[in-house]
Symmetry: C2
């Protein structure tokens, strides 16, 4: 969708760091700029804020235009306002992150982009402006959040195996955990409800499925916890 | 100091929530507006960002103009950009908090203020714009931070007693702790170095003084901890 220049706040943008989990790999969604400055460069998903909309509304609009998704976990991380971070004029950008289910469906470049694509977190190409710094800051924030709040579980399906859950933590934190230790620590939180169901359609022995105890989840979200792995 | 309107970014401000500890009470520094809009109203310390300065530089300038202080702990919390939060024009404000030693010296109203004063956190007057919301959001952030990182210790002198430290936590969290339990949990972290010194000039039995183990402090700051009280 194209916007009227008069409806735009020229000094304020939002940028979204969109994380998804693809078979145990953490990925980030990037877009290729079709306009100057830095035409052709890879960038975080972002854009201006409209005069009539709140910051988070702008971030959600951007995400929806590109992914078609609207009901996702999204959180403001930090504002970046260094002099010179954007060429020619002063723009501060408010960074949000979102955790979405990895999908290749419905992705379409935003209004000023020529491409949109998932990249593994370790294979991110050169980014425009200060977007590498924004990505690094946001990833560090997410890594600290998953250790102190039960965030990140949004990346899992409603019913999941302990292997999937461990894979999520390993992907986000970029490390491997001892399986026995991981499960022991996790089960101690009473956060998981073991279901009377197992995986279906797998070649190996079907693992038990779990879901989250939403009461405990909400309490831990409010109170915080320390998940030392 | 007065600024040239041409040097100012009219759409971006910073607001500082300045916390101090006065005899076991958490206080916040507020200023009285001497200009429209909301002339005469109490406000957080804040103001515009200059075209040539970064966001945090602007926040530190404001703090310095009013308190004379420059070397303080300061952290960005959140940006507030709701439509209509500021009258007549769109301004987004980036909120920072600072922890400073409570002092009545060197306080002077900023360029557009008629007064500056410490208020106990429970006795804050009506605030202008969305400043009450900014204050509440920032206090909640601080409360969550002192449980997961060794932040807040900046409010103590270099050598302090365990009673002072407990008083800090009680003031920030607005609650009372069981002294024995508090000390046990705290000492387990190895964060404190017991000194071969005691308080001087007190009527009661002089308590032992402690200082922080800076190595452990830096590690906990990077790694985080959970301080369940």
């Amino acid at each position: 969708m194209q916007y009227n220049p008069e409806d735009i706040l020229p000094t304020i943008s939002t940028d979204c760091v969109i994380f998804g989990l693809d078979q145990g790999k953490l990925k980030v969604l990037l877009t290729r700029r079709a306009i100057a400055p830095k035409k052709g460069g890879w960038a975080l998903l972002g854009g201006f804020v409209l005069k009539h909309e709140d910051l988070e509304t702008a971030a959600r609009r951007t995400l929806k235009e590109i992914s078609g998704m609207s009901d996702v976990y999204m959180e403001q991380v930090h504002s970046f306002g260094q002099v010179g971070r954007f060429p020619n004029r002063r723009v501060i950008t408010v960074a949000y992150y979102a955790l979405i289910n990895y999908t290749l469906e419905n992705l379409k470049p935003g209004p000023d982009s020529s491409d949109v694509r998932w990249f593994e977190i370790n294979e991110v190409p050169e980014l425009v402006f200060d977007h590498r710094y924004i990505l690094d800051t946001t990833l560090a924030y997410l890594q600290s959040r998953v250790r102190t709040e039960p965030i990140g579980f949004e990346l899992l399906p409603a019913k999941f195996t302990l292997t999937q859950l461990q894979g999520l933590y390993e992907a986000v934190l970029g490390t491997n955990f001892d399986t026995r230790n991981f499960r022991k620590k996790l089960l101690k939180m009473n956060l998981l409800i073991p279901l009377e169901e197992s995986q279906t359609g797998v070649a190996h022995r079907a693992a038990r499925l779990y879901s989250f105890n939403n009461d405990i989840y909400q309490k831990l979200k409010a109170k915080g916890f320390s998940f030392e792995l």
